[in-house]
Amino acid sequence: MMQSAPFNYRRIVIWIGRLVLAFIFIYAGLAKMIRWDMHPRPPLGIARSLFALQIDSYQMLPPWASIQVARWLPWAEIALGLLLLLGWRLKIWSTLVTLIVGGFFFAVLRAYLLHLDINCGCFAKPEPLNGLTVLRDGALFLLAIIMTVFAFQEARRPHAWAVPAPERPS
């Protein structure tokens, strides 16, 4: 089996992807719960309801699903961001992050193509959804795909600094 160099370009891309996506996920999750843009900051229940309204404005999910997504998504974003930073079981979590970012991209692109006059809701604050939002989410989706594919490729090759596997007695 070929060994992987410690600092090849795939590893660098994986690191960039992990750091960028982890920061964005943790920030987005906290922003939805804390609502830094509001003074005074609303209680968690109200912040959650406001986020549910933003999800609902996409007109993609039934009301009960919007409420549930608003309840769990911010926590999931923070947890996934931390897991990306840790790098533990990267293949699993990067795949999940890619699916979620893909979902965001799909929702934003759909709303844009349907000319829905709504706020993005990406970072909780009022931010009209426009072409730039679609491009930004598209770029993040591409980064997540590349990071995940590279993570799978790198997992097949032992790291140059890894302890060599003990030889089997013949």
Binding site: G102, F106, R110, D117, I118, P128
Partner: protein, 238 residues
């Protein structure tokens, strides 16, 4: 390996684009507004006697009582900035707002304020706002607003706002409404609503601003379903 990566990426992106296209095709697109020559812009007269009757509730000023419903002692004031020609405003009015009226306004939990925010891109929304305002001032606002929203697709094609309003009023009522519209005495109130909206700022319609007694304001942008809005209103009206 790089070829496999490229193929995988292209396949995933293609699937995402395909999914999006299918979803867009399946969804009902909002009807594009038929552009018609705009009616002549109305000249606003100086603030009339009608403009002086505006009230302040829960810190929300410049409320035209004819366009507001509920108890002034309600813990929450909900301002709705809307445009009669906007499809999402129609959707909000015919579904969510009606249920908010039934369950919160009629129970004195919410004081609801309808603000006119006619967008310049809509040829007849200002005319519709003038008729609705005039009808509200003779006590027939509800019927006219319902008629305007329910027949939105018809009058935005034909431009016959007057006919739509006349269909739900008696000749005597229509005469009073027509006098108010032609006299332009209520135009300053519509202009005031528009100014207030621009100060928020309202970037799109409908935009609802929910004000609580402690001075906090929560903007809600676009169409939202009643069940989701209810989760917020229940917490605020506790």
């Amino acid at each position: 390996m790089s070829r496999r990566f490229a193929l995988t990426s292209v396949a995933i992106l293609s699937l995402a684009c395909l999914g999006t296209l299918i979803s867009v095709a399946a969804a009902t697109p909002q009807k594009a507004t038929t552009k018609k020559p705009a009616p002549p812009a109305s000249k606003s007269t100086p603030a009339s006697a009608a403009a002086q009757t505006s009230v302040t509730v829960n810190g929300v000023a410049d409320i035209d009582p004819a366009k507001a419903f509920g108890s002034k002692n309600a813990p929450v004031v909900m301002e709705i900035f809307s445009d009669f020609q906007c499809p999402a405003c129609r959707q909000l009015f015919t579904t969510t707002t009606q249920r908010v009226m039934d369950n919160y306004v009629n129970n004195n939990k919410i004081y609801i304020v309808h603000r006119d925010f006619p967008l310049p891109m809509h040829a007849y929304s200002r005319v519709a706002a003038s008729y609705a305002r005039a009808a509200a001032h003779i006590g027939k606002g509800d019927a006219v607003v319902q008629a305007l929203f329910q027949n939105q697709e018809k009058w935005e094609m034909s431009g016959d706002v007057k006919g739509t309003v006349a269909a739900v009023l008696t000749p005597a009522e229509m005469k009073k409404v027509q006098t108010l519209v032609e006299g332009k005495t209520l135009e300053p109130l519509i202009d005031k609503d528009k100014q207030l909206g621009m100060a928020v700022p309202v970037n799109q319609t409908p935009t609802s601003i929910i004000h609580t007694r402690d001075g906090q304001s929560y903007p809600v942008v676009g169409y939202v379903s009643y069940d989701v809005l209810k989760t917020l209103l229940d917490q605020l009206t506790k």
